[in-house]
Protein backbone atom coordinates (compact mmCIF):
# COMPACT_ATOMS: atom_id res chain seq x y z
CA UNK A 1 0.00 0.00 0.00
CA UNK A 2 1.29 3.46 -0.81
CA UNK A 3 2.04 5.68 2.10
CA UNK A 4 0.58 9.10 1.82
CA UNK A 5 3.11 11.90 2.32
CA UNK A 6 3.40 13.37 5.80
CA UNK A 7 1.42 16.59 5.94
CA UNK A 8 1.54 19.60 8.21
CA UNK A 9 -1.64 18.30 9.84
CA UNK A 10 0.06 14.96 10.55
CA UNK A 11 2.87 16.73 12.37
CA UNK A 12 0.41 18.61 14.57
CA UNK A 13 -1.60 15.47 15.22
CA UNK A 14 1.66 13.78 16.20
CA UNK A 15 2.41 16.58 18.67
CA UNK A 16 -1.07 16.25 20.16
CA UNK A 17 -1.19 12.44 20.19
CA UNK A 18 -4.12 12.39 17.81
CA UNK A 19 -2.63 9.92 15.29
CA UNK A 20 -3.31 6.24 14.84
CA UNK A 21 -0.37 4.10 15.92
CA UNK A 22 0.39 3.09 12.32
CA UNK A 23 0.55 6.70 11.21
CA UNK A 24 2.61 7.63 14.26
CA UNK A 25 5.30 5.17 13.19
CA UNK A 26 5.38 6.71 9.71
CA UNK A 27 5.70 10.20 11.16
CA UNK A 28 8.52 9.05 13.43
CA UNK A 29 10.37 7.65 10.43
CA UNK A 30 9.87 10.94 8.61
CA UNK A 31 11.14 12.95 11.56
CA UNK A 32 14.23 10.76 11.91
CA UNK A 33 15.26 11.89 8.44
CA UNK A 34 14.30 15.56 8.93
CA UNK A 35 16.05 17.12 11.92
CA UNK A 36 14.58 20.56 11.16
CA UNK A 37 11.04 19.22 11.35
CA UNK A 38 11.93 17.14 14.39
CA UNK A 39 13.11 20.32 16.12
CA UNK A 40 9.88 22.06 15.23
CA UNK A 41 7.80 19.20 16.55
CA UNK A 42 9.84 19.16 19.74
CA UNK A 43 9.27 22.91 20.12
CA UNK A 44 5.52 22.44 19.75
CA UNK A 45 5.52 19.66 22.34
CA UNK A 46 7.37 21.97 24.67
CA UNK A 47 4.75 24.66 23.97
CA UNK A 48 2.01 22.25 24.98
CA UNK A 49 3.76 21.41 28.22
CA UNK A 50 4.43 25.07 29.02
CA UNK A 51 0.84 26.03 28.28
CA UNK A 52 -0.50 23.23 30.47
CA UNK A 53 1.91 24.25 33.20
CA UNK A 54 0.65 27.82 32.93
CA UNK A 55 -3.07 27.07 32.89
CA UNK A 56 -3.56 23.86 34.83
CA UNK A 57 -3.26 25.50 38.25
CA UNK A 58 -6.43 27.49 37.44
CA UNK A 59 -8.40 24.24 37.65
CA UNK A 60 -7.63 23.91 41.34
CA UNK A 61 -9.05 27.29 42.29
CA UNK A 62 -12.17 27.13 44.42
CA UNK A 63 -15.40 27.67 42.49
CA UNK A 64 -17.49 30.62 43.65
CA UNK A 65 -20.74 29.34 45.19
CA UNK A 66 -23.02 31.20 42.78
CA UNK A 67 -21.64 29.14 39.92
CA UNK A 68 -22.43 25.87 41.64
CA UNK A 69 -26.18 26.26 41.53
CA UNK A 70 -27.52 25.56 38.08
CA UNK A 71 -31.26 25.87 37.64
CA UNK A 72 -32.07 22.43 38.94
CA UNK A 73 -35.81 22.85 38.76
CA UNK A 74 -35.66 23.25 35.03
CA UNK A 75 -33.25 20.40 34.75
CA UNK A 76 -35.61 17.49 35.22
CA UNK A 77 -38.03 18.79 32.63
CA UNK A 78 -35.25 19.53 30.18
CA UNK A 79 -33.73 16.11 30.71
CA UNK A 80 -37.01 14.48 29.87
CA UNK A 81 -37.24 16.68 26.81
CA UNK A 82 -33.74 15.65 25.82
CA UNK A 83 -34.70 12.01 26.08
CA UNK A 84 -37.78 12.57 23.93
CA UNK A 85 -35.84 14.47 21.31
CA UNK A 86 -33.21 11.76 21.20
CA UNK A 87 -35.73 9.00 20.75
CA UNK A 88 -37.69 10.88 18.16
CA UNK A 89 -34.46 11.49 16.30
CA UNK A 90 -33.48 7.83 16.37
CA UNK A 91 -37.00 6.92 15.34
CA UNK A 92 -36.69 9.29 12.42
CA UNK A 93 -33.60 7.57 11.12
CA UNK A 94 -35.06 4.11 11.50
CA UNK A 95 -38.28 5.27 9.91
CA UNK A 96 -36.59 6.82 6.93
CA UNK A 97 -34.44 3.77 6.33
CA UNK A 98 -37.36 1.40 6.68
CA UNK A 99 -39.49 3.60 4.49
CA UNK A 100 -37.01 3.14 1.71
CA UNK A 101 -38.50 5.91 -0.35
CA UNK A 102 -36.84 8.57 1.74
CA UNK A 103 -33.79 8.36 -0.48
CA UNK A 104 -30.30 9.68 -0.07
CA UNK A 105 -31.29 13.21 0.78
CA UNK A 106 -33.12 12.22 3.92
CA UNK A 107 -30.68 9.81 5.49
CA UNK A 108 -30.24 10.69 9.13
CA UNK A 109 -32.55 13.64 8.91
CA UNK A 110 -35.12 14.63 11.50
CA UNK A 111 -38.37 12.70 11.56
CA UNK A 112 -40.47 15.48 10.10
CA UNK A 113 -38.58 15.23 6.84
CA UNK A 114 -39.09 11.49 6.70
CA UNK A 115 -42.77 11.96 7.31
CA UNK A 116 -42.95 14.61 4.67
CA UNK A 117 -41.41 12.34 2.13
CA UNK A 118 -44.13 9.79 2.60
CA UNK A 119 -46.88 12.37 2.52
CA UNK A 120 -45.60 14.19 -0.53
CA UNK A 121 -43.42 11.69 -2.35
CA UNK A 122 -43.76 13.37 -5.73
CA UNK A 123 -42.22 16.54 -4.46
CA UNK A 124 -39.06 14.83 -3.32
CA UNK A 125 -38.49 13.13 -6.62
CA UNK A 126 -36.89 15.30 -9.28
CA UNK A 127 -38.82 13.64 -12.13
CA UNK A 128 -42.18 14.14 -10.50
CA UNK A 129 -41.51 17.63 -9.30
CA UNK A 130 -43.49 19.23 -12.09
CA UNK A 131 -46.64 17.51 -10.92
CA UNK A 132 -46.69 19.43 -7.64
CA UNK A 133 -48.06 22.91 -7.83
CA UNK A 134 -45.80 25.91 -7.41
CA UNK A 135 -47.42 26.53 -4.05
CA UNK A 136 -46.91 22.96 -2.83
CA UNK A 137 -43.28 23.04 -3.75
CA UNK A 138 -42.93 26.39 -2.03
CA UNK A 139 -44.54 25.01 1.12
CA UNK A 140 -42.42 21.90 1.09
CA UNK A 141 -39.17 23.79 0.65
CA UNK A 142 -40.16 26.25 3.35
CA UNK A 143 -40.98 23.43 5.78
CA UNK A 144 -37.66 21.71 5.08
CA UNK A 145 -35.78 24.96 5.57
CA UNK A 146 -37.67 25.50 8.82
CA UNK A 147 -36.89 21.96 10.01
CA UNK A 148 -33.23 22.34 9.16
CA UNK A 149 -32.47 25.79 10.55
CA UNK A 150 -34.90 26.54 13.33
CA UNK A 151 -33.46 23.97 15.80
CA UNK A 152 -29.92 25.25 15.20
CA UNK A 153 -28.62 26.72 18.42
CA UNK A 154 -25.35 27.87 17.03
CA UNK A 155 -26.18 29.37 13.66
CA UNK A 156 -29.90 29.75 13.20
CA UNK A 157 -29.27 32.73 10.90
CA UNK A 158 -26.44 34.08 8.80
CA UNK A 159 -26.97 37.71 9.74
CA UNK A 160 -28.57 38.68 13.02
CA UNK A 161 -31.29 41.23 13.62
CA UNK A 162 -28.71 43.50 15.25
CA UNK A 163 -27.47 44.11 11.72
CA UNK A 164 -30.86 44.42 10.12
CA UNK A 165 -29.77 47.05 7.60
CA UNK A 166 -27.08 44.78 6.23
CA UNK A 167 -29.44 41.84 6.23
CA UNK A 168 -32.02 43.80 4.22
CA UNK A 169 -29.47 45.20 1.79
CA UNK A 170 -27.84 41.84 1.20
CA UNK A 171 -30.98 39.77 0.74
CA UNK A 172 -32.63 42.46 -1.41
CA UNK A 173 -29.61 42.50 -3.66
CA UNK A 174 -29.47 38.73 -3.96
CA UNK A 175 -33.18 38.29 -4.63
CA UNK A 176 -33.32 41.32 -6.87
CA UNK A 177 -36.35 42.79 -5.11
CA UNK A 178 -36.71 45.15 -2.22
CA UNK A 179 -37.22 43.02 0.85
CA UNK A 180 -37.79 43.95 4.43
CA UNK A 181 -38.52 41.55 7.24
CA UNK A 182 -41.97 42.43 8.57
CA UNK A 183 -42.20 43.44 12.18
CA UNK A 184 -44.16 40.83 14.14
CA UNK A 185 -43.76 42.47 17.54
CA UNK A 186 -47.50 42.98 17.81
CA UNK A 187 -47.95 39.24 17.29
CA UNK A 188 -45.33 38.50 19.95
CA UNK A 189 -42.43 37.56 17.69
CA UNK A 190 -39.04 39.15 17.56
CA UNK A 191 -36.71 38.97 14.57
CA UNK A 192 -33.59 36.83 15.09
CA UNK A 193 -32.15 37.42 11.64
CA UNK A 194 -32.09 35.84 8.23
CA UNK A 195 -30.23 33.80 5.72
CA UNK A 196 -29.98 33.15 2.02
CA UNK A 197 -30.99 29.76 0.65
CA UNK A 198 -31.12 28.13 -2.76
CA UNK A 199 -34.65 27.87 -4.12
CA UNK A 200 -36.09 26.17 -7.17
CA UNK A 201 -35.50 29.21 -9.36
CA UNK A 202 -32.74 31.08 -7.62
CA UNK A 203 -31.98 32.59 -4.26
CA UNK A 204 -34.53 32.53 -1.45
CA UNK A 205 -34.58 34.47 1.80
CA UNK A 206 -35.46 33.00 5.16
CA UNK A 207 -36.22 35.25 8.10
CA UNK A 208 -36.37 33.74 11.55
CA UNK A 209 -38.34 35.00 14.53
CA UNK A 210 -38.90 33.75 18.03
CA UNK A 211 -41.46 34.40 20.71
CA UNK A 212 -40.86 35.03 24.40
CA UNK A 213 -40.70 31.31 25.07
CA UNK A 214 -38.07 30.78 22.39
CA UNK A 215 -40.42 29.11 19.91
CA UNK A 216 -39.22 29.83 16.42
CA UNK A 217 -41.11 30.83 13.31
CA UNK A 218 -39.67 31.30 9.85
CA UNK A 219 -40.78 33.39 6.91
CA UNK A 220 -39.58 32.02 3.58
CA UNK A 221 -39.64 34.45 0.67
CA UNK A 222 -39.02 33.18 -2.81
CA UNK A 223 -39.08 34.94 -6.14
CA UNK A 224 -41.51 32.97 -8.31
CA UNK A 225 -41.72 33.59 -12.01
CA UNK A 226 -44.08 36.36 -13.00
CA UNK A 227 -46.18 34.00 -15.14
CA UNK A 228 -47.17 32.01 -12.07
CA UNK A 229 -50.58 33.10 -11.00
CA UNK A 230 -51.24 34.44 -7.56
CA UNK A 231 -52.89 32.16 -5.06
CA UNK A 232 -54.97 32.67 -1.99
CA UNK A 233 -53.77 31.64 1.45
CA UNK A 234 -53.13 27.91 1.81
CA UNK A 235 -52.35 25.88 4.87
CA UNK A 236 -50.35 22.66 4.93
CA UNK A 237 -48.95 20.52 7.69
CA UNK A 238 -45.72 18.66 7.27
CA UNK A 239 -45.28 16.48 10.32
CA UNK A 240 -45.23 18.80 13.32
CA UNK A 241 -44.66 21.88 11.16
CA UNK A 242 -47.53 24.01 9.97
CA UNK A 243 -47.01 26.12 6.84
CA UNK A 244 -49.15 29.02 5.69
CA UNK A 245 -48.31 30.03 2.15
CA UNK A 246 -49.41 32.20 -0.71
CA UNK A 247 -48.11 33.68 -3.95
CA UNK A 248 -48.54 37.36 -4.54
CA UNK A 249 -47.21 39.55 -7.28
CA UNK A 250 -44.64 37.02 -8.43
CA UNK A 251 -43.35 36.36 -4.93
CA UNK A 252 -43.95 33.24 -2.88
CA UNK A 253 -44.33 33.56 0.89
CA UNK A 254 -44.46 30.74 3.41
CA UNK A 255 -44.65 30.97 7.17
CA UNK A 256 -43.61 27.88 9.08
CA UNK A 257 -43.73 27.03 12.75
CA UNK A 258 -44.68 24.26 15.09
CA UNK A 259 -47.95 26.10 15.70
CA UNK A 260 -51.59 25.55 14.98
CA UNK A 261 -53.43 26.95 12.03
CA UNK A 262 -55.04 29.86 13.87
CA UNK A 263 -51.78 31.10 15.25
CA UNK A 264 -50.11 30.91 11.84
CA UNK A 265 -53.05 32.59 10.14
CA UNK A 266 -52.78 35.50 12.56
CA UNK A 267 -49.09 35.91 11.67
CA UNK A 268 -49.68 35.37 7.95
CA UNK A 269 -52.28 38.11 7.90
CA UNK A 270 -49.92 40.50 9.65
CA UNK A 271 -47.19 39.72 7.15
CA UNK A 272 -49.57 40.10 4.22
CA UNK A 273 -50.81 43.46 5.49
CA UNK A 274 -47.30 44.80 5.91
CA UNK A 275 -46.29 43.72 2.42
CA UNK A 276 -49.49 45.14 0.89
CA UNK A 277 -50.28 48.26 2.92
CA UNK A 278 -53.78 49.51 2.32
Amino acid sequence: MNRSPISEADLHAYVDNQLSSARRIEVEAFLAARPDEAARVAAYRRQNQQLQHLFDPLLDEPIPPHLQQPSRVATRLNLRLAAVVTWVFVGGIVGSVAGGMAGWQLRGSPPMLAQMSSQMPRVTEPLGAQQATVGERLAWRAAVAHAVYSPDTRRPVEIGADQEDQLVAWLSKRLGVKLKPPSLKAQGYELIGGRLLPGSEGPVAQFMYHDAKGKRLTLYVSGERQDKQDTAFHFATEGPIGVFYWIDNGMGYAISAGSNKNELARVALAVYNQINPK
Binding site: Q18, A39, A43, L59, E61, P70, N78, T86
Partner: protein, 184 residues
Protein backbone atom coordinates in the same frame (compact mmCIF):
# COMPACT_ATOMS: atom_id res chain seq x y z
CA UNK B 1 -23.96 9.36 35.23
CA UNK B 2 -25.72 12.35 36.61
CA UNK B 3 -25.80 15.24 34.18
CA UNK B 4 -25.84 17.80 37.00
CA UNK B 5 -22.57 16.45 38.27
CA UNK B 6 -21.12 16.19 34.80
CA UNK B 7 -21.83 19.81 34.00
CA UNK B 8 -20.60 20.90 37.37
CA UNK B 9 -17.38 19.00 36.76
CA UNK B 10 -16.83 21.15 33.69
CA UNK B 11 -17.05 24.43 35.61
CA UNK B 12 -13.33 24.76 36.38
CA UNK B 13 -12.53 24.24 32.71
CA UNK B 14 -15.19 26.72 31.65
CA UNK B 15 -13.78 29.30 34.06
CA UNK B 16 -10.34 28.76 32.67
CA UNK B 17 -11.50 29.06 29.07
CA UNK B 18 -13.52 32.17 29.92
CA UNK B 19 -10.43 33.84 31.33
CA UNK B 20 -8.52 32.99 28.22
CA UNK B 21 -11.28 34.50 26.07
CA UNK B 22 -11.46 37.61 28.20
CA UNK B 23 -7.75 38.07 28.69
CA UNK B 24 -7.64 37.34 32.40
CA UNK B 25 -10.49 39.59 33.53
CA UNK B 26 -11.70 37.41 36.38
CA UNK B 27 -15.04 38.97 37.33
CA UNK B 28 -16.39 39.16 33.80
CA UNK B 29 -15.02 35.69 33.12
CA UNK B 30 -17.23 34.30 35.89
CA UNK B 31 -20.19 36.23 34.50
CA UNK B 32 -19.55 34.56 31.18
CA UNK B 33 -19.42 31.16 32.90
CA UNK B 34 -22.72 31.85 34.60
CA UNK B 35 -24.35 32.94 31.34
CA UNK B 36 -22.99 29.81 29.71
CA UNK B 37 -24.38 27.52 32.40
CA UNK B 38 -27.77 29.18 32.24
CA UNK B 39 -27.95 28.89 28.51
CA UNK B 40 -26.70 25.30 28.66
CA UNK B 41 -29.52 24.30 31.02
CA UNK B 42 -32.06 26.09 28.87
CA UNK B 43 -30.80 24.33 25.75
CA UNK B 44 -29.98 21.00 27.31
CA UNK B 45 -32.43 19.24 25.02
CA UNK B 46 -30.20 20.18 22.08
CA UNK B 47 -27.29 18.32 23.57
CA UNK B 48 -26.82 14.91 21.98
CA UNK B 49 -27.01 12.23 24.62
CA UNK B 50 -23.76 10.46 25.26
CA UNK B 51 -21.62 12.98 23.40
CA UNK B 52 -18.82 14.82 25.16
CA UNK B 53 -20.21 17.77 27.08
CA UNK B 54 -17.08 19.87 26.97
CA UNK B 55 -17.03 20.88 23.29
CA UNK B 56 -20.74 21.61 23.52
CA UNK B 57 -20.31 23.85 26.57
CA UNK B 58 -17.24 25.55 25.14
CA UNK B 59 -19.21 26.17 21.96
CA UNK B 60 -21.99 27.86 23.91
CA UNK B 61 -19.45 29.98 25.76
CA UNK B 62 -17.64 30.85 22.58
CA UNK B 63 -20.84 32.00 20.90
CA UNK B 64 -21.90 34.03 23.92
CA UNK B 65 -18.52 35.68 23.95
CA UNK B 66 -18.72 36.47 20.25
CA UNK B 67 -22.25 37.86 20.68
CA UNK B 68 -21.25 39.98 23.65
CA UNK B 69 -18.16 41.40 22.04
CA UNK B 70 -20.03 42.21 18.84
CA UNK B 71 -22.86 44.00 20.58
CA UNK B 72 -22.85 47.69 19.82
CA UNK B 73 -20.24 47.35 17.14
CA UNK B 74 -20.51 47.93 13.45
CA UNK B 75 -20.63 44.62 11.66
CA UNK B 76 -17.33 43.20 10.62
CA UNK B 77 -16.42 41.12 7.67
CA UNK B 78 -14.62 37.89 8.30
CA UNK B 79 -11.15 37.82 6.91
CA UNK B 80 -9.19 34.96 5.51
CA UNK B 81 -6.66 33.56 7.88
CA UNK B 82 -3.90 34.86 5.67
CA UNK B 83 -5.02 38.40 6.32
CA UNK B 84 -4.63 37.99 10.04
CA UNK B 85 -0.89 38.36 9.70
CA UNK B 86 -1.35 42.02 8.94
CA UNK B 87 -3.88 42.65 11.67
CA UNK B 88 -1.98 41.75 14.82
CA UNK B 89 -2.89 44.27 17.48
CA UNK B 90 0.05 46.63 17.70
CA UNK B 91 2.06 46.51 20.85
CA UNK B 92 1.54 49.28 23.37
CA UNK B 93 5.22 49.45 24.01
CA UNK B 94 7.80 50.90 21.72
CA UNK B 95 10.08 48.06 22.60
CA UNK B 96 8.60 44.70 21.90
CA UNK B 97 10.03 42.48 24.52
CA UNK B 98 8.29 39.23 25.17
CA UNK B 99 8.84 38.45 28.81
CA UNK B 100 7.13 35.11 29.11
CA UNK B 101 4.61 32.74 27.67
CA UNK B 102 1.62 34.74 28.89
CA UNK B 103 2.98 37.79 27.10
CA UNK B 104 3.56 35.79 23.98
CA UNK B 105 -0.02 34.52 24.06
CA UNK B 106 -1.34 38.06 24.17
CA UNK B 107 0.46 38.74 20.91
CA UNK B 108 -1.33 35.93 19.12
CA UNK B 109 -4.41 36.76 17.15
CA UNK B 110 -7.44 35.75 19.21
CA UNK B 111 -8.59 33.17 16.66
CA UNK B 112 -5.21 31.46 16.78
CA UNK B 113 -4.90 31.71 20.54
CA UNK B 114 -8.28 30.08 21.03
CA UNK B 115 -7.42 27.12 18.82
CA UNK B 116 -3.96 26.65 20.34
CA UNK B 117 -5.39 26.65 23.86
CA UNK B 118 -8.28 24.33 23.11
CA UNK B 119 -5.82 21.88 21.60
CA UNK B 120 -2.84 22.23 23.92
CA UNK B 121 -4.53 22.91 27.26
CA UNK B 122 -8.03 21.45 26.94
CA UNK B 123 -6.68 18.67 24.76
CA UNK B 124 -9.78 18.56 22.63
CA UNK B 125 -9.66 16.62 19.39
CA UNK B 126 -9.37 18.76 16.27
CA UNK B 127 -12.87 17.69 15.32
CA UNK B 128 -14.22 18.90 18.66
CA UNK B 129 -12.40 22.21 18.28
CA UNK B 130 -14.03 22.66 14.88
CA UNK B 131 -17.43 21.90 16.41
CA UNK B 132 -16.82 24.19 19.38
CA UNK B 133 -15.89 27.16 17.24
CA UNK B 134 -18.25 26.38 14.38
CA UNK B 135 -15.44 26.43 11.80
CA UNK B 136 -14.21 23.83 9.29
CA UNK B 137 -11.50 21.37 10.28
CA UNK B 138 -9.12 22.86 7.72
CA UNK B 139 -9.45 26.26 9.39
CA UNK B 140 -8.67 24.69 12.76
CA UNK B 141 -5.51 23.17 11.34
CA UNK B 142 -4.33 26.36 9.64
CA UNK B 143 -4.98 28.44 12.77
CA UNK B 144 -3.17 25.88 14.89
CA UNK B 145 -0.22 25.87 12.53
CA UNK B 146 0.00 29.66 12.36
CA UNK B 147 -0.50 30.05 16.08
CA UNK B 148 2.25 27.60 16.91
CA UNK B 149 4.65 29.10 14.41
CA UNK B 150 4.08 32.55 15.80
CA UNK B 151 4.27 31.43 19.40
CA UNK B 152 7.52 29.67 18.71
CA UNK B 153 9.01 32.75 17.07
CA UNK B 154 7.81 34.96 19.94
CA UNK B 155 9.24 32.62 22.53
CA UNK B 156 12.58 32.66 20.79
CA UNK B 157 12.72 36.40 21.27
CA UNK B 158 12.03 35.79 24.93
CA UNK B 159 15.13 36.26 27.09
CA UNK B 160 14.39 33.15 29.15
CA UNK B 161 14.31 30.66 26.32
CA UNK B 162 16.28 32.19 23.47
CA UNK B 163 19.51 30.47 24.43
CA UNK B 164 18.21 26.94 24.06
CA UNK B 165 16.80 26.97 20.60
CA UNK B 166 18.25 29.87 18.66
CA UNK B 167 20.97 27.70 17.16
CA UNK B 168 18.46 25.43 15.49
CA UNK B 169 16.46 28.05 13.74
CA UNK B 170 19.04 30.69 12.92
CA UNK B 171 18.77 29.75 9.26
CA UNK B 172 15.03 30.32 8.94
CA UNK B 173 14.11 33.97 9.11
CA UNK B 174 10.59 33.37 10.30
CA UNK B 175 7.97 35.54 8.58
CA UNK B 176 6.33 36.00 11.94
CA UNK B 177 9.40 37.52 13.48
CA UNK B 178 9.67 39.91 10.55
CA UNK B 179 6.11 41.12 10.84
CA UNK B 180 6.57 41.71 14.56
CA UNK B 181 9.55 43.87 13.82
CA UNK B 182 7.59 45.96 11.38
CA UNK B 183 4.96 46.57 13.99
CA UNK B 184 7.31 47.97 16.58
Amino acid sequence: MNLDAEIEACIPRLRRYARVLLGGHHASADDLVQDTLERAWRKIHFWRWGSDLRPWLFGIMHNLHVDQSRRGQISTQSLDDTEFEASVPPSQDDMLVIQNLQDALRHLHEDQRTVVLLVAVEQLSYQDVARTLGIPLGTVMSRLSRGRTRLRALMEDCPQTSGQTSGQISGQASPVAISMKIIK
